[in-house]
Symmetry: C2
Subunit: 350 residues, 2 copies
């Protein structure tokens, strides 16, 4: 029996670096990664044909093009943009997943528009109400998954359980960890800490331990300390934590750069320890962590960073392909069904 | 008319470095800072007398001692510890503020115990229900105040307004900024973002603009970008953000150190740019930002970092002294009264 091969729709007009970088990514990826997925480029056909030819990959049988005449810009309003630009690369790409022509869609475009298109066009999985955005957070030698990074700012405790399942399965596929440790994010690990949501979610997560590998509460100071593989929280807190950390990292980077440039001796020193600086930057740069998937839908949607370079783009495609070939959604679906049974019987008993 | 002089109760037994560091801080502070406050050392009298004598400051008229036979350790449970150790330095110190013998209390001890003692022993200010923990967050060239950093994880919209007022007045005193810009933390600044609390708080904050300098929403990516002077949020999110950033900063520091130590040439390079590394570390080290005050009580309680060194301890004392001499609480009280009037009339109209 052959392995399932994924067909991925790629928003070829998206990202700060535009279609040229997308085509560069494909050329590099086909040459250097053993990807066996098919890719449907969605965007302005004529332009894409020209770029593919120039890159000498126009004859590659894994590539095809679906024309889309419009482009959604980064600063457009989510709902409005997808309603007004029905022939945009982003909307057409999600349509291809909706009708089953593609198994997954990847875009470096407008996050809000992508989430709106995914949520409105693809229905949630059976047994689940709301999708969640997952993100791989880089750390020193132990990356982890944060879920929800912003799709659902006001979840119910059941949603938190579903997020824990989706995050676990995503962690298994994206970070290659078996039965990953799940922690519930709270403002302290002592008894009585947390808000109503974390307290109720905690009780439910304990009940479904076994379906997931629940490790209890995680507090702020432990986030980068390799306590767990998946951190689960509401989309409000998750979004602020993720972006706050990006903001801090970028400030520290700029601060160090400015201080080094103040004196010639420091610049020389920085040259000597360039390897160390680059390693830290490379390892922790959020841009290199390909895609943040919107999980829990009937179809796979991945958001890559707006400023993704060729490596980040191909990484997002690689993860999208793994999600499809490992049939991640089927595994999550089975877990959710089991968890819902437990939650239901618990509600009946209480 | 003479300036009001503050009398500060200092938990002399607290902190990872213990009473020796506290006494060292006092010796250094009296010599190098023009502090004109009185300090009441609370702790084991005999030990403290010996240490003061050794440091040759036992004759200083600004110092006195109140005996306390017990010590609350860092890992003790908040409520239990303050109930069981009524003669601890931490509890006695708060008592001194309660009876009016001291204007403010500073401790590097157990955060939970200090917050519990403050909240249970000192009543909230008139017009206010819940205290909030404020924290100065260091940034490149623009530190800011985060409030609430963890005292009240489930506030009502009115509490957010009170936090905005308390944070503004604290920012004025601690960071010397007039009419500081206030931002409400949310998961994006677009319309429709946020949860119920931020949406309702946003409306109230707009109404009290003028009492505070309200600058609208702030999202994660803007946190370290000098958009505002005070970031206001619920204590759940604030605690996770603050500690998450501390965790990230500490991970990055350790990572860079490990990478530098891998090769001799890198170590040499680091020596050349030591000035830059130290400057960044010094400027961003949360430990150097003295105290996090528990605001909104009838009395001033400041928590200094557990691992505070002499400079951090004296900085906390300096800020406590400023809070008293500038009569910060009276200013906040007047603002809160005005804000409550507006909120009340708004509720009547709606």
């Amino acid at each position: 029996m052959g392995k399932i091969s994924a067909t991925i729709a790629l928003d070829a007009m998206s990202g700060d670096l535009g279609p040229t970088e997308i085509i560069r990514a494909l050329r590099w990826g086909f040459k250097n990664l053993s990807l066996d997925c098919n890719i449907v480029l969605v965007g302005k056909e004529e332009l894409l044909r020209r770029l593919l030819k120039k890159a000498k990959i126009d004859q590659d049988s894994r590539l095809s093009i679906v024309n889309a005449s419009q482009v959604i810009n980064m600063d457009e309003k989510p709902i409005q943009s997808i309603k007004q630009k029905k022939d945009s690369s982003l909307v057409r790409m999600v349509d291809l997943v909706k009708v089953g022509q593609c198994n997954a869609a990847v875009s470096c475009g407008n996050t809000g528009s992508l989430m709106a298109a995914g949520t409105l066009k693809l229905r949630p999985m059976a047994g689940l109400e709301r999708p969640a955005l997952a993100s791989v957070i880089p750390s020193k030698d132990h990356h982890f998954v944060l879920i929800d990074a912003g799709a659902n700012p006001t979840p119910k405790p059941e949603h938190i359980v579903h997020n824990a399942i989706l995050g676990s399965r995503y962690c298994q596929v994206a970070l290659n960890r078996d039965f990953p440790r799940v922690g519930l994010l709270s403002n302290g690990t002592e008894e009585g800490k947390g808000n109503e949501l974390t307290q109720e979610s905690y009780e439910l997560l304990k009940k479904v331990d076994g379906i997931i590998n629940f490790n209890g509460l995680v507090e702020g100071l432990q986030i980068f300390e390799n306590k767990v593989d998946v951190i689960v929280c509401d989309g409000f807190t998750g979004n602020i934590l993720l972006k706050g950390c990006e903001s801090l990292f970028s400030m520290v980077k700029g601060f160090l750069k400015d201080e080094i440039e103040k004196k010639a001796i420091r610049k020389l020193g920085a040259l000597f320890c360039k390897g160390a600086l680059l390693e830290v930057k490379k390892q922790l740069n959020p841009d290199t962590y390909g895609g943040a998937p919107l999980l829990g839908l009937r179809g796979n949607i991945l958001k890559a960073h707006g400023n993704s370079n060729q490596y980040a783009i191909m990484n997002a495609i690689r993860i999208a392909s793994e999600i499809v070939t490992q049939d991640m959604n089927a595994m999550a679906l089975a877990d959710i069904e089991k968890a819902n049974e437990i939650i239901k019987s618990k509600n009946k008993n209480s």
